[in-house]
């Protein structure tokens, strides 16, 4: 709706059509394009038989299959050479591995100035006691940003392929999917009530303590996702829809990704080379320290937890 122009004029503009498409009021393909459901590919038996007969005739007449010594010799040679080729490749690979430097060897070529700088300056630059998390979330934060984007795009692709209309989900809610599964199992529900908060708490601990102890966003997020899957398996989708529906999923996912991008960009522009930065490093060892590591861990964790649960829900019933 526009206040400046009249409604009839506004309907001709590009913006009107764009927002109508964005809101999902009209599908541009309906009416303009002929759409048919895909037909199943069926081959008649006669054509199969004909093809097999042709093949046998060709083998018999052209190549003279039963008497052709060359062909038989070539077949045997082919088998022998394929085995020899596989064994040769295995031998080359094993020989190469035996020449690699040992794990923890101080003289190997990978322990150069990069590793030494990470170990010596890591605590001062990033403020994280756990050097691994400090490295992947502040020196290589854009690298991890790419990984998080991969998760986002993967869920988008699964949604494109497996998403079903909401009416259909409601219609065949109880039909085929949970056919033989125990529904409303009391023992499972009691234990899930007891265990799910513990699993969530442990996941949150791993995320928030990622810059001090082993762990971080990916592992903690996977744990929270596994806890949600346990909750769904015990109580069904009706209960999870109350606190985690498609709207919540969209908000969490997009917000986490956007905030991550903004923080990393800001940090690389201001704080990376010793310039002044709003995000303070803090005292190493405290829970509120580590500069950008702590907020990034939280965003990555929520992203991964949403991805895990969304995969399960989409594979299970085609909707969140």
């Amino acid at each position: 709706m526009s206040k400046i122009r009249k409604q009839s004029e506004y309907e001709k503009t590009f913006a009107y059509r764009f927002f109508r498409w964005l809101g999902g009021e009209k599908d541009i393909f309906v009416g303009n394009m002929e759409m048919q459901p895909q037909k199943e590919y069926v081959e008649e038996e006669a054509t199969i038989e004909e093809r097999m007969k042709d093949r046998q005739q060709a083998m018999a007449e052209v190549y003279d299959g039963s008497h052709n010594m060359e062909l038989r010799f070539f077949k045997i040679l082919y088998k022998i050479f394929s085995v020899v080729f596989c064994i040769a490749i295995m031998a080359v690979l094993i020989l190469t591995v035996s020449y690699l430097p040992e794990v923890g060897d101080p003289n190997r070529p990978t322990s150069n100035i990069v590793t030494e700088t990470y170990i010596s300056d890591g605590l001062g630059d990033t403020g994280a006691v756990n050097i691994v998390t400090g490295m992947i979330l502040s020196y290589r934060a854009f690298d991890t940003f790419g990984e998080t984007n991969v998760l986002f795009i993967a869920t988008c692709c699964v949604m494109i392929m497996l998403m079903v209309d909401e009416d259909k989900i409601k219609k065949n809610k109880d039909s085929n999917d949970r056919g033989f599964e125990p529904k409303n199992d009391v023992i499972l529900q009691v234990i899930a009530k007891f265990l799910v908060p513990i699993v969530f708490l442990f996941g949150i601990y791993i995320i928030l303590n990622g810059h001090l102890s082993p762990g971080g966003g990916f592992s903690g997020g996977a744990m929270i996702g596994a806890g949600m899957i346990l909750y769904v398996a015990a109580f069904g989708f009706d209960k999870t829809e109350k606190f985690f529906n498609e709207h919540v999923y969209k908000v969490i996912k997009v917000t986490a990704l956007l905030c991550y991008g903004c923080i990393v960009t800001y940090y690389f522009l201001t704080g990376a080379n010793g310039l002044e930065c709003l995000i303070l490093l803090g005292e190493p060892g405290k829970i509120l320290s580590g500069g950008i590591t702590l907020p990034i861990n939280i965003f990555v964790g929520s992203e991964v937890a949403c991805t895990m649960y969304a995969f399960y829900a989409l594979f299970r019933r085609g909707g969140l």
């Binding site: 033989f180 599964e181 125990p182 199992d185 023992i187 499972l188 234990i191 265990l195 513990i198």
Partner: protein, 123 residues
């Protein structure tokens, strides 16, 4: 105090060897038993009792610190999770297997109360 140290060592060896022997029984039983619920039962025994005894041995060996408390929490977690998973397997077997009656006798709770026994009573 060497005497107490020796007693502690003996306890550790006893618990860990007992747990490992139960693990051995579990693996033997999983391959030996033909019927599903028998296999489920022996696997659940190994998962709870075997791991529990091994962890108790490790806790005694470790002494009083934070790692011991974590191991105690692991025991609590396993003792909650493992029996429930075997219960779900047994219930699935009960709902799907049509020839279950040939292999075992199913006792409902009312019948068991009447007879005063609870053996073979899945569900």
């Amino acid at each position: 105090m060497p005497a107490i140290e020796w007693i502690r060592f003996g306890l550790v060896v006893f618990f860990i060897l007992f747990g490992l022997s139960i693990f051995f029984l579990e693996i033997f039983g999983v391959y030996r038993f033909k019927f599903v619920l028998n296999r489920m039962q022996i696997a659940a025994t190994g998962d709870t009792l075997g791991i529990g005894l091994c962890l108790v041995g490790l806790m005694i060996a470790n002494g009083w610190n934070a790692a011991t408390a974590k191991m105690a929490l692991v025991i609590v977690f396993l003792w909650c999770a493992s029996p429930v998973s075997s219960h779900v397997i047994a219930r699935l077997e009960y709902t799907t297997d049509e020839t279950l009656m040939e292999n075992c006798r199913i006792v409902t709770i009312e019948e068991a109360e009447a007879e005063g026994e609870t053996e073979n009573g899945d569900i």
